[in-house]
Symmetry: C2
Subunit: 432 residues, 2 copies
């Protein structure tokens, strides 16, 4: 058969269920790919080849426990694993061996999936980058904070990776690396065993190579039945929103949006540009207040006992949180609540919102994971977001296009994203 590293997760699981592939053979092929590419991409912070193969063999000995049985996953290294160290991207936790799995990790094991290893995160999922490089150009950042999961999935080292997002840590690296990134509705995947950064914002999600894979994997981590994505009909309606960060949009994202809009229309869909209501003008500031206020407190142990082991970048990133008053935080949470209530009032006649996934192509800078400003609003709203690959910028690097929906309407959002994925693939087929 053809190279199993190229299979989507659902396709691989199907081959395994049909007896045409084993989980062990799949893991073996992925390990070969990692061996060939690891010096360049550096997606992993922990990988024990024997352990991964042993877990795959265990899965091969079982009857399928789910539609993703036997599929290996990369786990972002801020999620506890009872059998692998968990470093949080920080020297403070260099030798940290948790005694439990994060709830989402246990749920994927319960579904017969294989934990391949731990993927690189920035320091506590904030700004300070890890070792990972963009697989399409190793002089560029993969984005952060879910750097290793995005790069690993993009480089065919793993079909699925867990990511988390507090500002733009799933959607941005997915966009930079050219994979599907999915941030579910806030609070739907439980965070027991995750290193909390800002609990009003932190959201567990995933990297995948198709919307269907993302839907299946997220459903497993949510412990909900996997539902086949609904057909959105021949002419779905999208609202295009520039978002408060639009002035930062680079050529890559401007042309990606234009191409996506063209492609939606060619495929029969409609796109109407919409302005955000005035209350959204405070959204980015409010998100920053919430994040820094909460993160400064959440990292109290590290600040008190290990200040010398925190990076300057991290200390700078959360410093404002120590200065914000409770009243300022209350203001920010009120902006959040108001924007949440307004969002779907404005957009409810549309199937989904189209908006840039990032400012543009991945910066040519390994010390900077890029701006999260095209993601922070949507994270604050707690709404489901999907970024889709298929478009490229002026330097030939991937540029994502983001599909956003209403809180609690993740299925509808994913269904629209799947339709758009088809429309974008049609475009690519026209040009190749």
């Amino acid at each position: 058969m053809s190279d199993p590293t190229q299979l989507t997760a659902l396709a691989a699981a199907r081959e395994i269920a049909l007896g045409r592939l084993t989980s062990e053979a799949l893991v073996h092929a992925l390990l070969e790919r990692i061996d060939a590419r690891n010096d360049t991409v550096r997606a992993w912070t922990y990988l024990d080849r024997k352990q991964a193969l042993a877990e795959a063999r265990l899965r091969d000995s079982e009857r399928p426990r789910s539609p993703l049985h036997g599929v290996p996953v990369g786990v972002k290294d801020i999620l506890d694993t009872h059998d692998m160290p968990t470093g949080h991207g920080s020297p403070i936790y260099q030798d940290n061996q948790p005694s439990q799995d994060a709830a989402c990790v246990a749920l994927l094991r319960d579904a017969g999936m294989v934990v391949m290893g731990k993927t690189v995160t920035t320091e506590f999922a904030l700004r300070n980058p890890g070792a990972t490089r963009n697989p399409h150009d190793p002089t560029r950042t993969p984005g952060g904070s879910s750097s290793g999961s995005a790069a690993g999935v993009a480089d065919f080292q793993i079909p699925l990776g867990i990511g988390t997002q507090t500002s733009g840590s799933i959607i941005r690296p997915a966009s930079f690396c050219g994979v599907v990134g999915y941030k579910p509705t806030h609070g739907r995947i439980m965070r027991n065993g995750m290193k909390i950064l800002a609990e009003s914002l932190d959201t567990i999600g995933c990297m995948a190579r198709s919307v269907n894979d993302a839907n299946a994997f997220a459903s497993i981590m949510e412990a909900s039945p996997i539902q086949r994505l609904a057909d959105v009909g021949p002419s779905p309606s999208f609202a295009f929103v520039k978002s408060p960060a639009w002035p930062e949009a680079e050529a890559g994202s401007r042309s990606a949006v234009k191409e996506a809009v063209d492609r939606v229309r060619q495929a029969g869909g409609s796109v109407v540009e919409i302005e955000l209501p005035p209350v959204f003008k405070d959204a980015l500031e409010a998100q920053d207040v919430i994040m820094t206020y909460e993160a400064w407190r959440a990292l109290a142990y590290e600040r008190y006992f290990h200040l010398d082991k925190l990076s300057v970048a991290l200390k700078q990133a959360v410093a404002a949180g120590g200065d914000h008053t409770r009243e300022r935080y209350d203001w920010a949470r009120n902006v959040q609540a108001t924007c949440k209530a307004m969002f779907w009032q404005v957009f409810q006649k549309f199937g989904a919102v189209l908006t840039p996934a990032a400012a543009g192509e991945a910066p040519k800078n390994l010390a900077y994971t890029g701006s999260p400003n095209f993601n922070r609003l949507w994270t604050m709203l707690g709404v489901p977001c999907v970024t889709l690959p298929g478009l490229v910028g002026p330097a030939g690097m991937p540029v994502g296009i983001q599909c956003v929906g209403a809180a609690g309407r993740a299925h509808e959002t994913l269904a629209h994203a799947a339709w758009l994925e088809g429309a974008l693939q049609g475009r690519l087929q026209d040009h190749t």
Copy 2:
């Protein structure tokens, strides 16, 4: 000087700051009290006398870092401590030594407070009781899940204890043991390093022997400045709400409410009985759906790897969570959101709500921590709750009275609770 175990936390810290008491002497006196009473009360799951004294001496060598400098605290054993084991009330975590402190624990250390030891929790803060007994009658439950913190504070073994509440786990044991219990607004004390049970509900708070102590301690855990409680004026206004659980109210709580209302009026305040709007009829059911749906998922690791080490009571308590559909959970979260929005619309002309803290006196049953039904609505709303001691039931056991406010108006709620505390103490003085 008089027995330091009888001091409130603020009074003890004042004595320490003035050089009339040392943290070491205070810890020593508390350890003597524990030695005398531990066989009866059993509040502690971990206590290392040398370690507590050494930490106290360290604090004695410093200049005061906060108005609670040198004051020892009992930490509920679902909160991580980097220097003490953390058992979550479960044999699964018998040897669990976290590598970090929970954020709230680090914040109290940063304030110069002393971690005395870990206090007994029910299994994962759910129903299955630990070893603790009610200090007023060891044949009765201390309530749960924050059993050890409530009993320890009531028995003068510790001036302050950390509790957490998902249904009624702070207010109910505080009521049963006759101490002040304070559940702040949901989300104000960060939960990094806490064993999550149901993240839409879990709230960190405290047990104390005065409202001022609770205010100071919670402010430290929130990393906010300690504000002196405002004077609510001579005639504060209360709304009395029976709550959906009223049919369960026993003689002790019925008479406590009546006495509290009388006392408020005698002291110059007003009380008006108010009915909850019809939407609240679904509140208890919705809270149960949210809790079981989330807890079943949060405990995925324990269910998958250690099912045989979970108690029957725990498995029963979360079983429904595995059956609820996502749609059912969405329904419950919508009820929660609607009730939150309605609550203060109805009560905004009042300073606070008065309502029972528990069904009545502590049950004479060490296998049952009592019903949380007088707490579940308020926990679901995420609003600040304070229970006050001072009233007694027909068997002479403590019965609390609960003061509830609006989310984000914790200060106002505490100020009203402090006024009520004074009014109740006045009553007691009349009768003794």
